[in-house]
Subunit: 413 residues, 2 copies
């Protein structure tokens, strides 16, 4: 079945906001066998929204709109829905009660403008919003399904995965589908493709995709078949081939994050970790603690941005900073060794680099990053040459450090 995604909001068409919702939604739908054929964005304009939704209902089976459900005057999606489906806005007491309770639980009085959030189209199904005030609206009519969800990415994501996907799965007759996701880190998309493409043949019933991101490249296999066994067999056959070719870069099969995989390894071994950062300035610690069970294995971090802090917090000798520089193998190694000793943990990880845009030299250009890992067996460090972009360099450094830590824990390399 075909899907059209519609993003609503002046901020989307004016370019103020990059629309990430649809890039998140399309792969989730693909996993249950639904393919997005059109994506449309339109501003907060009654007439244009109406035209776009009507058109979408003609050319696709399922229409999923996001945005314009807030309580303020410029949020007019509900009015458009009433127009398109000839419904009335009705006050839904139970929705308001639920919202009031959630504000009360936080010790707040609900701002009265949120009463608007209980005015909803007659005869629709509502999708609960666990992280915000606007419920989702679902209307099933004439063999078409129309859905309206909040535009705030966090709210949309939870509603999509916890409410809408299960609903759609129950409604559609889907072909048997098997999805396998192999997550890699430490290798670029083009290098992966060179190692894989010449050696495999993708069967017609399989869609194979490289999905690059800062944390690494995910390899996704979507296999369809007449029954579950058929779909699973051919997906697994391809996965085995891929593992043979690039297995050492694969850190998990499924959706676990790299920090969760590292966390699991440390927990299993009952080992602990501390970090010392300069250019990433806390982003590595922050990413480690994104995993809710981090307190089991993460002890502490120091962000030693000034030279004084490197000396005072980590005992880096001033003469080392003088001779080799704050961004050097030598400094990174001492940072990792000393944070490990001070925290009395099993692993000390350090990152020292030149994120840019300034601070680069001929010998150490912007994008030069040293990552060191200290264990009971000593310390090793690795040098990276990343990009010219400050933000990219900081993000890539975080994932490079996590990848290196995983390999160290596993004794790989």
């Amino acid at each position: 079945m075909d899907v059209e995604l519609i993003s609503i909001g002046d901020e989307i068409i004016s370019g103020h906001t990059v629309d990430t919702n649809s890039a998140y939604t399309a792969p989730k739908l693909a996993e249950i066998g639904l393919s997005v054929t059109y994506k449309t964005a339109v501003g907060d304009d009654l007439k244009r929204m109406e035209e776009v939704i009507k058109r979408a209902l003609v050319r696709t089976d399922i229409v999923i709109a996001t945005g314009g459900l807030g309580p303020t005057d410029d949020d007019i999606t509900k009015r458009v829905i009433c127009k398109v489906f000839k419904r009335k806005l009705i006050f839904h007491e139970e929705v308001l009660d639920d919202l009031k309770k959630r504000f009360e639980a936080r010790g707040f009085k609900m701002p009265s403008i949120n009463q608007n959030q209980a005015l909803l189209p007659q005869g629709a199904t509502f999708l609960p919003n666990k992280t915000g005030s606007a419920v989702g609206i679902l209307i099933s009519e004439n063999n078409k399904i129309f859905v309206s969800m909040p535009g705030v990415p966090r709210e949309m994501k939870v509603m999509l995965t916890e409410e809408l996907i299960p609903y759609l799965e129950s409604k559609i007759t889907k072909a048997a589908i098997k999805v396998i996701k192999l997550r890699t880190t430490g290798i670029f998309e083009s290098a992966l493709a060179e190692k894989i493409t010449p050696h495999i043949k993708i069967p017609d019933n399989i869609k194979f995709a490289y999905l690059p991101a800062y944390h690494g490249v995910d390899l996704r296999i979507i296999s369809t078949g007449n029954n579950e066994n058929e779909a699973t067999d051919s997906a697994e056959k391809l996965a085995i081939q891929i593992r043979e070719l690039v297995g050492k870069y694969i850190y998990t099969e499924g959706n676990d994050t790299l920090e969760a995989v590292v966390g699991k390894l440390l927990t299993e071994r009952n080992e602990k970790l501390a970090v010392a950062e300069s250019c990433t300035a806390g982003l590595l610690a922050g990413q480690i603690v994104a995993n809710p069970s981090a307190s089991k294995y993460f002890d502490r971090g120091v962000v030693t941005y000034s030279n004084e802090s490197k000396i005072e917090l980590l005992g880096v000798p001033p003469e080392i900073l003088e001779k080799y520089g704050a961004v050097s193998t030598e400094t990174a190694k001492i940072m990792a060794t000393n944070i490990r000793e001070k925290a009395k943990v099993d692993y000390g990880v350090s990152i020292a680099g030149i994120a840019g845009p300034d601070g680069g030299t001929y010998e150490k250009p912007v994008g030069t990053v040293f990552i060191a890992i200290a264990t009971a067996n000593g310390v090793k460090s690795k040098k990276y040459l990343l990009t010219n972009d400050r933000e990219i360099n900081r993000l890539r450094s975080v994932y490079a450090a996590l990848g290196l830590l995983r390999k160290t824990i596993l004794g790989l390399d």
Copy 2:
């Protein structure tokens, strides 16, 4: 005049690629008075592409498509253009010669597949491509302008700014436009709207929008007029009214981030900053250092996740942790006070909270966060009750701390 942007390519609708082209293009067009009213994405599918382009030519004046101009078989935009405009593909010797010369200038022989790039629709205007092989195609017919550009962001951007924008500027009579963005923090969209909406009347020539994000809510005014003065006057008049109503939440006019505004204040005062974090675990330090000039005012951070680290790195007395808990006003105050003293800086900022999903109690539910700021005049702390979501709680805490720091530096409250 209205514009529709069309992105072509399977990678866009399947979600593999986030479409950043349109977010780049829309503001550039706004600057010459053209407003994007629709954005559409469609896969590499002849029929659907034809339908989308025809529809766009009906509902807008200028249609700008990107993607599908490459030399390989799945790049079919030129075929669609010929269908829509009833043209033939003609071999353009001069385009091929130019392309050959550019390959030669770099010491390469042109790959023969690039001969396809000289097959172009009859009677079109071509926009040179300085950074790639596909020229842009422009057709002006029946008072409509249709443009097709490459989808590679780097090529598209150069062609847009150096070729298309000057062309469009020469063709259109533009309306004068003034955009004002007021950035707020520390207040929700609904509360802002309650303070603003009842007290202002938005003139017909102005579009006013609330743009919420984790860092706060941006208020955007777009005003049009017959000339620049007219547009500017009415935008500024509204901005003054809004400042009177909610001025204390506005941290900047324009595009500066909250961390950049705080950084500017500290730099002006020649003051320095250090931070101590538990639940945010480095994200505050990481956000501060997102500003490239942070080394001028940011000294260090500590991520005291375990109780031992709070005691060892910050000297929090064990009996305070025992009596009040690691997440408490008392602990947060000591963390802020002691990181300030240890780093010998002007401001010490601390965050201690229960991010969730576990760790909440009846008295301190998930989402309870204490933020403290220590200065030469002493230490103050503030309690927040945020959400049930770990990620949101950590992000909101970071911006709440930055907002509180800004107010402290300015002596507000």
